[in-house]
Amino acid sequence: MSTIYQAKSIRTMDPHQPHATHLAVKDGHILAVGTGADVADWQSAWGPLELNTDFAERTLLPGFIEGHAHMMEGLLWDYHYVGYYDREGPDGTIWPGLKSIDDVVAHLKQIQETRDDPSEPLIAWGFDPIYFEGRRMTANDLDSISAACPVAVLHASLHILNANNFIMDAADVKNADNSEFIRRDTRGKPTGEFLGQLGMYMAMRTTNLDLLAAASSPKTLQTFSQVARQTGVTTCTDLANPVPEGAEVAMRETVEKDSFPMRLVVAYQGNSRPPEESVARMQALQDKQSDKLRFSLVKFVADGSIQGFSARLKWPHYYNGAPNGLWYIEPDRLREYLKAFTAAGFQCHVHTNGDECTEVTLDAIEDALRAHPWPDHRHTLQHCQMASRAHFKRMKNLGVGVNLFSNHLYYWGDEHRAITMGPERAGRLDDAGGCLEEGVPLAIHSDAPVTALAPLFTAWCAVNRLSSSGVTLGGESEKISLEQALYAITMGAAYSLRLDTEIGSLEVGKRADIAILADDPIEVGAAGLKDISVIGTMVDGHVHLNKGRDA
């Protein structure tokens, strides 16, 4: 079926023809882009094309591309969202932010009273106490929901967990050594809050469930794709996945269905196997790919997070005096892996949060490229939140791209100013302006589920650089323009995934992956960018309308 879609406005991200109103789709690809005046020519050149005016009052953009998210976003919606900010679920339900511990407890109590089997574990996620002054959540709070089944509240960071006494009793922490990973009250009694991954470990031991299964069940994938569709995303990454034997086949069965509204780029977790074995696994995945499922990237996590004080920073390190963070992989080992994957011709994405880690990773990439020259490798630094201008210059010279964690500016901007980085360094956090000025290819991301998947919001963050309290981080030189931000969430991300010949702009021959918006971002302007309603998407020409929106 060949169709011409008429829209109020089409922003193509194609410099040859940035603005249009009509777009023809054939066999899942874009056949033609232009205006009403071109339609007659298209008809005579390409044969009969059906005119569809469903989106005549809508704006079309290239489908958004989320270059750094995790499939866990799809899993967490099996549990109950209790975050501070409103968050849209896969079915379009807006879950209102909960503004106090009492609100969280009341919300979960209501769920406990109405669910089918109240003896099942009750798991909640997205809790973020940094916004609550005063007391912290305790096991007694959660016992008031139920003391007869495991109740666990996972924090937004995914690295802290509050448990009720059902779990605490099983954990037997009363006899435990005095561990810094178990929060205690002033009398030394454990409060029910576990740091590191201890809480998740105990919740898993108590329930015998794999609460955060790495495996990608069809349901998890479906939910993940629905969250993506609600926000206009047509290509999403899972960064990263160890891809256990056989997982690639199961994933493909789900993803291949026309009704599955998303292209999925799985980044293979490079250090999930020893180097030689790991390269072989990646090679074996290559012929398991399809149009909608890619195993084209390798991912490494080199350090921790800034807000978790586990990112590796250069002197003077943390503003509050916390000791420098952690390497998640030995620098020498990273070097070895990067060399092995570069030699085999696989593009690598490396998570580097702190500036020391960014530097060490650039050294490792330079080493790999000296050993195995590759002019268009497109190795990419992910997060890369504290990169300086000097780092960006070096990235430019090495041909390295960057995908910045712009959502941090809003969610943790205030904490970075006050606690982790101090005002000067927080000013250059996620410096998209500097990055583009130095000529480094730019994408921006949400790291969902760490923050909500929503590229228009991410673009808004990079353009406005406002923290949640309304403080602007940095100045004009760190900001990017609205047009640059829209490019970053489409062509910028496509480039970083080596998919820019296929997707990322609306031009002839590319895949018909389209975001359908209620309003034109260019007309709405920078301030309102995050509030634009997404009507749905098109993936390979298949229309997927959002729940809770009228076309």
């Binding site: 099942e120 015998n208 999930s272 030995e330 060490v360």
Partner: protein
């Protein structure tokens, strides 16, 4: 939904964490422990099974990321998810006697030890940190890793100096003196190609080596270490005994006793400055074993110290 059996009802698994930088000899030590297990059921969580280079004749079966050895030991690769690997191991039935976790070269071993603080079925036996004698100077000043390096040494309940043969004797002595000055209560031992009596690393086994009289493995003396054993009087309280052991630190590497005092029967485990008492409901043998460095006092002095009633 299947509820797990109530945790805490099964016997404890003793946990040893092997820390140290890349190239410090963790793999050689693991290879030695797994192949010289002396009847212990050891499960090891390792970073790279292939690097262990276990003799293929010792490999019984391989399923996914798990390799079974003919001596009953099991080796699992961690991948990049220690928490899940550990949870999987602790759900197995039967549980191993001993679990060894090979920390990555940049891990903070105290983070791994924390699992034992919450899991009632895990008992932290100790953190063993390998110090590469030949690369110490380099590691201690590494611009990116020095903080990590010192953290690992600080976390160690026992420091094993590897590759002693690659440095001059005086350099080795200087390093040992430096470590002793900074960590006066942490015992040290030298280890070459991973060879060290298993009792030193994993502790003494209650049944075979403490309930009945020694002999300890002849390896102890072959490695230039010393051991002492004897029956302790039951008027010696556990706290008094602890004080006596600590008075000998850092020359004591290991101690174990199956004993009784006014509070009842108990087992004592000592590993690198850490004493752990475990209440027992068996009749204790009163036997006590100590493994230490050559600097330990002679047998007569030890008898006087630990058996004052007879002295």
């Amino acid at each position: 939904m299947s509820q797990s059996p109530p945790i805490g009802s099964a016997p404890k698994v003793s946990l040893t964490i092997i820390a140290g930088f890349l190239g410090s000899g963790k793999t050689s030590l693991l290879n030695h422990l797994l192949t010289q297990s002396q009847g212990r059921k050891i499960t090891a969580l390792v970073n790279d099974f292939g690097a262990l280079n276990i003799d293929s004749e010792l490999i019984e079966a391989q399923h996914g990321n798990q390799v079974s050895l003919t001596n009953g030991c099991i080796c699992c690769s961690i991948g990049d998810d220690l928490m899940r690997s550990l949870a999987d191991i602790m759900r197995q039935d039967p549980l191993p006697d001993h679990l060894i976790i090979e920390a990555s070269g940049v891990a903070d071993p105290t983070r791994i030890a924390a699992y034992a603080a919450v899991d009632p079925q895990l008992r932290l036996d100790g953190i063993v940190t390998l110090v590469d004698a030949a690369a110490h100077a380099l590691h201690a000043q590494d611009p990116y890793l020095a903080d990590n390096y010192h953290k690992q040494i600080e976390a160690g309940h026992m420091l094993l100096l590897s590759k002693p043969d690659l440095v001059e004797a005086h350099q080795l002595e200087t390093l040992e003196a430096e470590l002793r000055a900074n960590y006066p209560t942490t015992p040290q031992a030298r280890v070459r190609n991973g060879h060290l009596p298993i009792e030193v690393v994993l502790g003494l086994q209650a049944k075979e080596q403490v309930q009945t009289a020694p002999p300890l493995t002849p390896q102890i003396e072959a490695h230039g270490l010393k051991s002492w054993s004897g029956h302790l009087p039951d008027n010696l309280s556990r706290n008094a005994l602890a004080d006596k052991i600590i008075s000998l630190a850092p020359h004591v590497l290991r101690a174990k006793g199956v004993l009784a005092d006014a509070q009842g029967a108990y087992a004592l485990h000592y590993a690198g400055g850490r004493i752990h008492f475990e209440n027992l409901d068996v009749t204790p043998s009163g036997h006590f074993v100590l493994i230490g460095k050559p600097e330990l006092p002679n047998a007569e002095t030890l008898s006087t110290l630990f058996q004052p009633a007879r002295a």
